[in-house]
Point group: C2
Chain length 254, copies 2
Amino acid sequence: MSFDRLIEGIKRTKNPTVAGLDPKLDFIPAYIKEEAYAQYGKTLEGAAEALYRFNVGLIDALCDIVPAVKPQAAYYEMYGWEGVRVLKRTIEYAKSKGMFVITDGKRNDIGTTMEAYAKAHLGVTEVEGEPLEVFGGDALTVNAYLGTDGVKPVLNVCRDSDKGLFVLVKTSNPSSGELQDRKLDDGMTIYQTMGRMCEQWGAELPGKYGYSGVGAVVGATYPAQLGELRQALPHTFFLVPGYGAQGGGAQDVA
Amino acid sequence: MSFDRLIEGIKRTKNPTVAGLDPKLDFIPAYIKEEAYAQYGKTLEGAAEALYRFNVGLIDALCDIVPAVKPQAAYYEMYGWEGVRVLKRTIEYAKSKGMFVITDGKRNDIGTTMEAYAKAHLGVTEVEGEPLEVFGGDALTVNAYLGTDGVKPVLNVCRDSDKGLFVLVKTSNPSSGELQDRKLDDGMTIYQTMGRMCEQWGAELPGKYGYSGVGAVVGATYPAQLGELRQALPHTFFLVPGYGAQGGGAQDVA
């Protein structure tokens, strides 16, 4: 099971950190950009190439001490298909260095459409009977507002391809409570309900370390809810964003 | 405002239909596929090219009688960056034929990350001060489980670029009720709450026909909820999937 591999990576590196690969052009060193522009122009392709070279440097620096990377799809998509091609190349490079790759796409849809996203990011697409790997991530973040119809197709691909997913449960942003913290008529909040659904969905993808292949995204910025969910969801592996720039600290996630 | 243009297209064609561009390789005529494979091989690129040629035929046939198309991003993404390039080319072609393009991506994230998606699909990406259009759709579907932080950045891009968004409110799939129909402690359901948020967000993007730039996705498969939401959300334009194959009929949406 996919998260078994992640857990083994965490043990090997003694580090439970996932490094975000959210490259912003403004923060990339000028010499990297100049080289890319010289080759491809000040274009979407040139910008995307600069992101790739920056990522390669990061991955080279991190691959022995950090077990996983999380490229954020939006920062590639904003450079068009040229950026999306760099997302694929980045995933490929990180995997070639032994890293576990979580594609942060927050994809969501239903039925065969969700299956298409799952094939794209975790499985294979068939062209005339030939299975072709597309993006090749090890796990994908998923938004489950649409219910089981939006998760089941991903579970199927995960089972076939040894991959995993992380469902948004309690996100790290300031307004996450507008909907997620609202109480339902049974007294549970929406995020608690979503968490419970993760445990149910996860029963289909058991792992050897006690965690299923259905993880949950739970922000470090809400330590009380994080602690509460950690107790309530014993088989659910957590991806905890919001550490650092967003304000979450070591004591919040301990 | 973007939906003003859509409404004018509906009046011109006397047709409130949006045609889905969800091409599935298995349903594309053999001669189109063979031509594409001859040029690009039985590869992701060859498959994507077949999708494009099929879309061009559809758009040519529809552009005088249907005002809008809705390409489903997943069916392009499953063919990798080659497919994503065809999404862009499809949008470009539909716009060149005067059609309004709703990119069905159900994108969602927060802050600058959501801004990146909004720039990608509706606005422009800057490379060294040069604004470059990326995908160029007229509207984007958005999942707002993350609250206002995930919608506000899209509103800003819509205001600057004369674009619109559709928020998932009550989706057409069988399991949409698992979460969306649950009652909150104030007696409102989650989908009603989401609908009300659309009205609030929409106040920032007023249009001249009484509808704001924040639309709602409400499935034709739930006619009772559709009627109820239509009453409750007077300024919110509806995108109504589920007509046809999913079981919704003309009486359900009348």
